[in-house]
Symmetry: D2
Subunit: 455 residues, 4 copies
């Protein structure tokens, strides 16, 4: 089995094996056979081929009788895989089926429509998995709505946030990815049928009727026009997958950062074995790292899809379209891999609320600088308040003292702000009144999406 370099994707854990099954080569062949069969029935229904031909073609189109191995070998040297496929199907069937199989179609009709069928299944799976990862974020958001931690901007402790709010923001981003996939779906999950150059020449006036019958057979939509040469729909799905990949990569990055030794506010569930071949003590964020790797790999393929679509010539491109054959399934498998690994990272995520609070306290009140400056603004005006607090924080940092203590020793301050106000200003909790309502908004939106709002 392991005679192919590219198995490395799955072996490295960067691919989603379910998607690999759904969009792989054997599935592609099965789907192409399914399209040929459905086309036969559609042509019969419209009356363009003899009444028996449709059934005969359907009977002929049995993927289990195909020698996939041999077909693959021929496909690698054929202009399109449809040519050896139709030949193989034609040779094994009765005369009637052989006469009318692939009637009026071109390779691209079969390949694009088969791809769309794969994609429909793939989107079902990907959306479901994204929603499940979202569920986990929702759970974290709810459970940790009061888990205070440091917000970090440009790598620096800024002001307090809660871990729940962070998880709610992740949830919002994941839900928007589902929304985008749902938006793309009906724009792309469409039959492709136009014949050699998109005019359905062989079907004459009945071209649209055949397309609709085929779409109906396969449960697909019918586009205004064949889309063989306008690949903007592919750019749309590439963009949606890039959206998933980037969202996952960013969340994975936050996890890696929060799991770092010095922050240590989260860690992935302990795995069975060691996470380093050299250092027994390591507890690496293995899943988050893999999610980031898979996300990056996915972006390479979405970039190929976008580049290719930029360059589709006339009625069928010489190279741009063919690149999609590989890049689209690969983009799906890699994106799905990123989602899987993020899911694994979140599933067993341990949040160390105490450590989060300790880190915040280690800042010795500095993360209250905004609050303190705000408290002083009515008295001193904004510019001077900022400067005063800037000096206080610099002194606190230099002397290793708590900001509250340094502030309390400043005469300038104590004249305008009493001890209670000062304490409140530098107390994280006092600044987090909005976190919980924001979390609720994200949870409600997720529930609506779950309830079908996305479709």
């Amino acid at each position: 089995v392991h005679d192919r370099w590219s198995d490395g994707l799955l072996e490295a854990g960067f691919g989603d094996p379910v998607l690999a099954e759904l969009v792989g080569w054997p599935s592609r062949v099965r789907r192409m056979v399914e399209v040929e069969a459905a086309l036969g029935r559609a042509l019969t229904a419209v009356g363009l081929i003899p009444a028996d031909a449709g059934a005969a073609i359907t009977q002929a189109c049995d993927p289990d009788r195909l020698d996939l191995e041999a077909l693959a070998a021929r496909a690698a040297v054929a202009p399109t895989p449809v040519i050896p496929l139709v030949r193989a199907l034609s040779h094994e069937v009765d005369e009637l089926a052989a006469a009318w199989i692939h009637h009026g179609a071109t390779s691209q009709d079969i390949i694009d429509t088969a791809t769309v069928l794969q994609l429909r299944d793939a989107l079902d799976h990907l959306e479901a998995r994204l929603l499940e990862v979202g569920d986990r974020c929702a759970q974290l958001a709810d459970r940790h709505r009061d888990t205070v931690m440091s917000g970090r901007t440009l790598g620096q402790q800024a002001v307090p946030i809660t871990f729940g709010l962070k998880a709610a923001r992740w949830l919002g981003a994941l839900d928007r990815r589902v929304e985008q996939l749902c938006w793309v779906r009906p724009r792309l999950v469409l039959v492709q049928l136009g014949g050699a150059a998109g005019t359905s020449a062989v079907y004459g006036e009945q071209g649209l009727a055949v397309a609709e019958a085929l779409a109906s057979e396969l449960g697909l939509g019918t586009p205004d026009l064949p889309w063989h040469a306008e690949r903007d729909r592919i750019v749309e799905i590439a963009g949606a997958l890039a959206g998933v990949a980037t969202t996952v990569t960013a969340i994975g990055g936050d996890l890696v950062g929060l799991a770092s030794s010095e922050v240590a506010e989260v860690r992935e569930a302990a795995s069975a074995g060691p996470s380093s071949s050299a250092m027994p003590h390591k507890r690496n964020p293995v899943h988050a790292a893999a999610a980031r790797a898979a996300g990056r790999l996915a972006l390479g393929e979405t970039q190929v899809l976008t580049m290719s679509a930029a360059d589709h010539e006339h009625e069928r491109a010489a190279g741009a379209w063919q690149a999609e054959w590989v890049a689209l399934p690969s983009a799906l498998v890699r994106t799905g891999g990123a989602v899987e690994r993020l899911g694994a990272a979140l599933a067993g995520l341990e949040v160390d609320a105490r450590r989060a609070r300790d880190n915040l306290e280690a800042a010795a009140g500095l993360t209250g600088s905004e609050a303190l400056a705000t408290a002083l603004t009515p008295t001193f005006g904004r510019v001077r308040a900022q400067r005063i607090v800037g000096e206080l924080t610099a002194r606190a940092a230099a002397e290793g003292r708590h900001l509250r203590e340094v502030a309390a020793s400043s005469e300038e301050l104590t004249q305008v702000i009493d001890d209670d106000e000062l304490t409140r200003a530098v107390d994280p909790a006092s600044s987090l009144q909005l976190a919980s309502p924001l979390i609720d908004r994200a949870l409600r939106s997720h529930d609506r999406l779950r309830a079908g709002g996305a479709r």
Copy 2:
């Protein structure tokens, strides 16, 4: 004026000057000032700052009093341009305004919201221009619904199409770009307000009320949560712009191909001067080439935006976010430039219907091979029909004779297909019955979009 390298974009004609105005630096500064003013009024409305402060801030926020030149110089060395901006605004105004300006906000609130305001105008312009370019395609589609030309797949003449159908396909793709921009718009044209780390700490429970008041002042939507760190909305607009850029690039590519000396089925309107510095006879597809250049340039920036969003850390990134400051306006201007140049190419496009027919006839019937094979399929079955016609076309090509003539001299054929049938098989018109209905579908969709269906 020409002291900046990057003017080259506009000087090379690859940028849209209207967008350059709408999303450039001076507009950015004006928009930031506008946001500070609106924030002042919002805070007053909610009651978080003194009743007079809002008006005082609004009065202070007069972009015409700012020294943009000096501000730009300070911005280049400041961590964010908001820091010198607020300082400049604070210094020139009355005490009350100085005390409360920028109250509770952080640089990102101002920059992101100002960007969104720019973007809203930019999208208005871009959508309008895309619709106008679409109008021209619609006109071409309607006018040339019977202009027969060769369809071309992998660079080879395939079967006949009409120029009108090609233009209708372009129209469909352009309209889908408008639809995508319309889908992105309400997801992105949102206020950003969360303070230092997205908790609106300074506003406490009233954070949402302030956000809504600010949004209302500016005519923007309010998001579920602040989106300072989840940049997937930026990936969405990047994807939509990449969609425009790739669609334009592909259409531009078709124009360049059709205008090539050997095809010569279209040409751009003659310009005032020569199109080559060496060859007086050249009539280059100058606008189409520029559209392709601008489209490529736009894709570079959309790629930056996508990459950056993949890597936004914690509550504010160190680098990823800042890259957006340049890449987003640049992506807009370059994308708009591509649209402008495509519009110019199409505006004066001359379609040479006669040449198109001549090119088709030069194929000596070969483009009827599919039709002929189809006509023979009932008799011979698909495989044999294809082989027979394959041999005929090879012979026709080798002997330089018309396919009809070679076919008419084949006994095997003349037994099963009479002269009329043969003539009809290789007659382009007989295969184009669907073209006009397809064009009508695209035109109707465009009308619906024009009529407001997109919003």
Copy 3:
């Protein structure tokens, strides 16, 4: 066998099967085992482990005894594939080997060094294939040094060139790709050995000696410092592969263009079967199109490598490095696939010299406009000469007459240029004196490269 989606690359004919073998997963495992064995011997040689341990480890490291299937399954869930590998090796061997295998190394040492060993073989193969494709270009350049054809700029016939000159330019570009690979090779084909964080802590002062002994065992170079975290060498190979992919893509594009129906100056050798599933007459540039598809696919992976290297954190990245595991071999296989398909396109390329001349003649002298303007410049000055010839060519095009004829009927001209001069000005041959010497320069450079100049 066909249970993996990614086989699609090879099945679609877009991968180089030799490279797939050289850089695939099974080869990776063998190479990792080889590195562990060599490390054992190196440690013995330096005296850091018992004298017998090196031999025992080498004996233990027998890839044929490994269950690759089981190892792959474990690798997919392990933090790195080295962890289950070392475990597998440790369990099957004698105690001494088990004690000292992987001593002082970390997973990255093994993976990076194994990758480098794969890469060395891959570069041997890729360079050899590029040189062979170059040989074919050299042959075409030499054979067609007098095959006159039209130069084409912006898709328009410009001035005459020769097909030999075009082939020579391709040759130059391919040779420069070999030169770049040769430049990258010694910078990258280096041992990686630094232990957990690049300090070779376990080896103490002997770290460099171990690295050198290991390099010597494997025939690799030794870098100044371990390069575990500075992945710029990977960016260099990514850049070199992108260079190959873009050069191949561009040549493939020229072939597709020259093979187009209306140009028809080249065509690929006829293949056994049809090149379209719908149109029996088609003779598609199948290999050139596949080369372009593979080239595009390769660029996706080189982009991943470049992006990843941009983001390698501290002493080992969480995601960026892991993405290389897949992207680097994939980039090699795709790039190699592009080279293979270009080689196939060129191998059987038929050049139609007569058609090339016909196309040029169809321009009716317009491609002599530069020459004519040049001939008039001494008399009229540049600006006026250009304008005169511009008017003549416009008239010639409008009236469908030959430029020579129109020019000969212009009194303004006949006063200053006689018939012979006019004929010479619009004769292609008169403008091609430099083509042959240029071809010779490219051929000589290729010979030098072949003779070893590149290394």
Copy 4:
């Protein structure tokens, strides 16, 4: 001045103003004029134009007499900027110069050669700046050769390293970037002269002589063949710039990470003003963040260059080449901006050696796990030693005790390792014997490069 959106690059501090000057539009015009002048002299030298014409052209080619503003306006609507330029030059000069200016050249000759002249200066500057940033790394490496800190892999503390070793690794990467630029330079800093389609038709047999004379006038090399259509040299410089951008981005990322509040081992020099508009206490890694932003922006342009070169058709592309006009200078300015900002970050970098040691000690011996396992390997074998230490570190972490202490209380261990050995195993210093020699290797290589080894 601020009427152009794209000034934002400089205003945001992401561009190198020196490079903006060297490669901007006014410089481009000057260089084009310089090329026209040099071509005139070259043609005179070879004897192809009258003896006086060369001097007359040189005199005419005075950029200071050009109205750059008007020229820019015309360039934006012209097919190439050379057309209005030559027209402007022709109109202002004597007849002889007007007759012979631009003789035998095409726009691309002038634009490409002018670009190369700009590039030569730009490379001088960029290499010099990279070497200077390298000098600073060398200084840090030398000064901090004994500054012990934690190595970090996947974000986790791994084993000790020194800050000096880290800086030496940065130095090595920066020096390799200089080497790559030096390798690219002679391959690209070449004259472009081939006339309309690369045959130098107008010069006949003397084409090479003219090219050499022009190269000599301008101090450039002469290529084997004109390279108008083979843009692989552009891919090479794009790759080299991407190398710089990625190296800078990665170093910037390390700085941001090391400056994070919880690590705090480095910080940038305090700037004059605040680094946040909301939080007075913040001391953001502003320069490092800007370097990362600029690096990302640069990668967008290098990607455009690579994509464009993939698609250059025939003798001159319709779009691909034109995109280079903007993308190449922009790539240079952005890359240079990244270098500048990294230089600023390093220039004032404060390294907190004490904090680095504290962080390491906070790991409570865990970073000695590799050393401890190594010490136990002779007795227990590798697998068991790893397991024992794995259990000890888990216990130490759980109980919040130092690894040494936990280890010392394990009977299993104390039987085989005495207290001294244990102490040494977990002492960082004992594992860093190689750091200093490695640093010396990097410093020596830098000195060699400085001494001219790179050229």
